[in-house]
Symmetry: C2
Subunit: 168 residues, 2 copies
């Protein structure tokens, strides 16, 4: 998509553009997660990130499936939003000295990532339905559900253990 | 906070850092909203953004109140996440030709902003409680509630009208 041309003319174009945005985002997340696994200290947090890495790979496959169902090329577009969210995650974690406090920071960063994904999948599901593509909507809704579940698990982990240890 | 020093040593430091991050973010949102009001076509979307601009100013005041309650200086730290989210909003809206499709894109961008704020306030509320600052938590929870309400209203506006018109 060019910066000086107006390439998005229809809701369908906007849907495809946003699908390419989240495709790029998921691939960046796939790259970022191994670093987060390495930085995490609490074993359940490490395991949670590991599980989310597997999940992310499945989500990328589902997006590829939607590209195919919709008859468009599976390609990525730049997504400054996820770049910024991941840059911030990296910056903050680099400033934390204590391992327990770092776990709390990592959870907060992961939840910022989850929330970005939740909002994009929520939008994509609504647009797919509007475009009469309930088949694409139901595949994307599976990714949305997984992100919501992951976010909830991170909240539980933070409130039941990680924040307590970070405050000690 | 320096890039090469580890300035965050406690959960309290992390809380203050994140409060300064969302303080910066809210000020950037306050700057971005007038441009979104200008670009919006549907009168209820323009009105919704206008209302959110007033709300954002109130939220900034609440954050300043929390800085004071917690006895720390009200200052901003860079927040690459919100910079990226707003940059993406600007990029996408610049690529949309049709006014009705642009409204759908503006709602999606605004919801990405809301989700970032929701995750940060959610985290800040949990950390404030953990730090024994339920007074700060309850002020921050008001901002969280407003963001959740705004996000829900945007979904309703998209699904009841804006997406339908964008698909015509």
């Amino acid at each position: 998509m060019g910066f000086f041309s107006k390439d998005i003319k229809t809701l369908d174009d906007l849907f495809v553009h946003t699908l390419r945005d989240i495709y790029y985002a998921e691939k960046q997340i796939e790259e970022a997660l191994p670093k987060m696994i390495e930085k995490a200290t609490a074993p359940e947090l490490k395991a949670g990130f590991q599980m989310h890495l597997e999940q992310t790979r499945g989500q990328i496959e589902r997006i590829e499936q939607v590209f195919e169902m919709h008859g468009v090329e599976a390609k990525e577009v730049n997504c400054p939003a996820i770049d910024g969210i991941l840059e911030e995650a990296d910056e903050v974690s680099g400033e934390v000295e204590d391992k327990q406090v770092l776990d709390a920071a990592l959870i907060a960063s992961a939840q910022a990532v989850e929330h970005y994904e939740m909002t994009r999948y929520g939008t994509l599901v609504a647009w797919a339905k509007q475009l009469g593509r309930s088949d694409c909507a139901s595949v994307l809704a599976q990714n949305l559900q997984e992100e919501e579940d992951t976010d909830r698990k991170l909240t539980e982990m933070a409130e039941s253990k990680v924040n307590l240890q970070a405050a000690e």
